[in-house]
Structure formats: structure tokens, C-alpha cells
């Protein structure tokens, strides 16, 4: 009887342990999605943050109890972080840094991409397959003369090469859904066909608001505008249809 109760106890403990592990590991825990101007991003079981100079790595395996694992000096005037596969694209006012997170707690710098056209700019960046898109804004505090949408070939991630560009007026955040790239610009929300990634083709411009950033999220496009949010249906990604404005 004693043996049985011990077995029962062990069985219970084992079961409890298993369920506890399953709970704390939060396997498949859903994460949300931010825009291209974010300074916080989740990738796997890690939260990566950038401040003006540093990249910080927090282990969020236990989502309610993050642990600071690493602090990395990246550069100066860091503004944005964008995750793509096992890489982080970090935008600063002069450089796009690419870090590998093959070892998620220890990001390793792979490369720095500097636009041959513009040396000083503000540039959020997103990546798609073997291409990275960045808006290089030269207005206001960012200096320079001409803003562009830049397209980098990142097949060789150690050596990103700018292969295309498109002149825009005052760009901010950007994001893509399929072969369509949405770029926030002072003049409106620009909708580009990027089926030929290095020759972005402007399809249309939606005006009526000052667009700052976008999150393509399933069949909707969530836009940060200067007075709140605008949400579009992008079931047909080339033709965003207004769903709501949230102010």
C-alpha cells in the first residue's frame, strides 16, 4: 500500500511537473506584430530592444519573467529594429546593421549597409526574402537633400548592395504584403508593386492623412496616422479599402 501511494505521489508529481513545464515554456505562445518604426521586437523566445546606442536581449521563454541576457553596443542614433527569419535589421540615422540571431541570446553583427546615394538619413527597414527595403529620409533633422526608397540585394548578407531606388518626398515607415510594398510618405500612403524588387512601381497614392507607419497584418493594413489609426482591408493587396479610422 505504501509503495502504491509513493508511486501515486510520484505519478502526480511527474504529471504536475510536465504540466508546469508545458505552462512555463509557453510553446507556441502567440506574439504580436509591430511596425517598422518599433524599438521592441519579439523573435522566437526573445525580446530584442534598441535604444539610442544599444541592443538588449531579453529571454522571454517565461513570458511573465523576462531575463536580460545580453547588451550590445551597436552604434549611434539607433532608431528601429525589424526581425526577419534569423536576422535583425537595425536602422540608425546613417547605417543599416544586420545581426544574426542564429544564437538568439548572442546576436552577431554580419554587415553594415551604407547607401551610396545618401550618407545621412533616417531609415526604417524591412526585409523580404533576399531584398531589404529602407526609406532614407533626408528632411528635417536627418539632413541631406533627396529622400529615397532604397532596395538592397541581401543575398550575400555580408555584403548588401543597393540595386534600386525610388525618389519620394518625406518617407517614414514601410511594410509589405505579398508583392506590394506600402510606404508612408508626407504626400500619402504609397502603394508599390515590388514583383520586380529592384524596380518598385508606384501603383497609387492614398491621400487624406499623414501616414507614419504601417503593419500589414493578415488581410488588414494597420496605419499609424498623425491623429490616430486608419485600417484598410488588403484582401486585394494592390487596392486597400478603408475599413475604419480610430481617433
Amino acid at each position: 500500500m505504501k509503495k502504491l501511494s509513493i508511486l501515486f505521489f510520484l505519478g502526480c508529481a511527474f504529471f504536475w511537473q510536465c504540466s508546469k513545464d508545458a505552462g512555463s515554456a509557453l510553446v507556441g505562445t502567440p506574439s504580436g506584430t509591430g511596425g517598422s518604426l518599433a524599438r521592441f521586437t519579439l523573435l522566437g523566445t526573445y525580446l530584442y530592444t534598441v535604444d539610442d546606442r544599444q541592443l538588449k536581449v531579453f529571454d522571454v521563454t517565461n513570458a511573465g519573467d523576462p531575463v536580460l541576457k545580453n547588451t550590445i553596443d551597436v552604434g549611434i542614433s539607433i532608431e528601429t529594429i525589424f526581425p526577419f527569419k534569423d536576422k535583425l535589421f537595425i536602422g540608425s540615422s546613417s547605417v543599416v546593421y544586420v545581426y544574426s540571431v542564429a544564437d538568439p541570446a548572442k546576436p552577431q553583427k554580419l554587415s553594415e549597409a551604407v547607401s551610396p546615394l545618401i550618407r545621412w538619413r533616417c531609415d526604417p527597414v524591412v526585409a523580404k526574402d533576399t531584398v531589404a527595403f529602407a526609406t532614407l529620409r533626408t528632411n528635417g533633422p536627418c539632413g541631406g537633400t533627396q529622400s529615397i526608397l532604397a532596395c538592397y540585394d541581401i543575398k550575400d548578407v555580408y555584403n548588401p548592395v543597393q540595386k534600386g531606388s525610388y525618389f519620394v518626398s518625406e518617407p517614414y515607415g514601410l511594410g509589405y504584403a505579398g508583392d506590394v510594398l506600402y510606404v508612408c510618405d508626407k504626400s500619402g500612403l504609397l502603394v508599390f508593386d515590388i514583383s520586380k524588387a529592384y524596380q518598385p512601381k508606384l501603383l497609387k497614392s492614398l491621400s487624406g492623412a499623414s501616414y507614419v507607419d504601417v503593419i500589414p497584418f493578415g488581410d488588414v493594413l494597420i496605419c499609424w496616422v498623425t491623429d490616430g489609426m486608419i485600417v484598410y482591408d488588403i484582401t486585394d493587396n494592390q487596392n486597400p479599402v478603408l475599413l475604419s479610422k480610430i481617433i
Partner: protein, 176 residues
């Protein structure tokens, strides 16, 4: 030679501008002044009724919910289940917040210089479950954002420095 002597005198008079300590009774000079807030106020995180957006900040999507930062105030929480009729549910007050990420039931944000983790499993009653202090160098607690400047020496007893302001004051005894 006389020119040199004059130059020396000019330099000497200039150098007096860079004394480390300023006479408190002197006339006002432009100096950096720390603006304080009690720690409890900075860390006062909680739920408020939904309100209009004042200064639209960063956006975030999580399932059927949308979040938008109101710069340095907190987050509008929006139920977007009915996509043509989104509903502002509440405002999550987080002083001096600008960033957001969500994993599972937990929202990560910056509360001035700290990372805070907020359990939002019940959005109407959020709970701060963890705070990692001073991981973001947003507002330096000891020095103004520039060097070679006079400033009022910060007094931690007065609270958290939430802002440095350049204004005419007397008695700016610190310099760096």
C-alpha cells in the same frame, strides 16, 4: 608683446566663465534644471476609461486587438473583432511609455528608464508582474543631455528626473 598681453587678459576673463561652481547669488544664467516626479507617480500604471487620442504614437497588432501608444502617456486598447466598427476598450496608463510588444498574456513596455511587464490576461485589471530597472537610458538621472553646461545638481530625494529643461536660473552649482 602688448597684443599678446591683451590676448592673455582676454583668455583669462573668458576662463572665468568656466568656473566649476557658480555663485548662487549671481544673476541668472541659462542652466539645465531637472524636472522631478515622485517615483510612485512615474510607476503608476493602471487602466482608465477609453479616451480620444492626443498624440498618436506607435502601433501594435495582437490577435483581434490593436494598441496605439499615446506618446509618454500609455496605450489605447482597441477591440478590432468587428473590423468596420473597432471599439476603444480602455486606456492603459503607463507614464513615459513609447514602445510595446506582447507575448501571450504579457505586454512589455518602457516606463521611463525601466522595462515593465504587464499581465493583460484581463485588460480591465492589468497587473505589473516584473520591472527591470534602468535598462533604457531615456532620461539620465545625474546629468543633462549635453556636456559643458551648468546644471542644478539633481536631488534623488525629490523623485525621479523625468525631464531636463534649459532655463535661466541662479544657483546652478553643477557643471560637466
Amino acid at each position: 608683446m602688448r597684443t599678446l598681453a591683451c590676448l592673455f587678459l582676454v583668455l583669462l576673463s573668458l576662463s572665468s566663465c568656466y568656473e566649476d561652481n557658480q555663485d548662487p547669488s549671481a544673476s541668472p544664467v541659462h542652466a539645465w534644471v531637472p524636472q522631478y516626479m515622485p517615483v510612485a507617480d512615474v510607476q503608476q500604471i493602471g487602466i482608465q476609461t477609453a479616451k480620444a487620442t492626443q498624440q498618436a504614437g506607435k502601433i501594435y497588432a495582437f490577435g483581434n486587438y490593436l494598441f496605439q501608444n499615446d506618446v509618454q502617456q500609455g496605450f489605447h486598447v482597441i477591440n478590432n473583432t468587428d473590423k468596420k466598427h473597432p471599439v476603444k476598450l480602455a486606456f492603459l496608463k503607463v507614464p513615459y511609455s513609447t514602445e510595446i510588444a506582447i507575448r501571450g498574456n504579457f505586454l512589455y513596455t518602457n516606463n521611463l528608464n525601466d522595462l515593465v511587464v504587464i499581465d493583460i490576461s484581463n485588460i480591465q485589471s492589468p497587473r505589473v508582474v516584473k520591472r527591470i530597472e534602468k535598462v533604457f537610458p531615456v532620461i539620465d538621472q545625474k546629468f543633462p543631455p549635453v556636456s559643458n553646461a551648468f546644471f542644478q545638481c539633481p536631488d534623488p530625494a525629490k523623485g525621479v528626473v523625468v525631464k531636463w529643461e534649459l532655463k535661466p536660473v541662479t544657483g546652478a552649482a553643477c557643471r560637466r
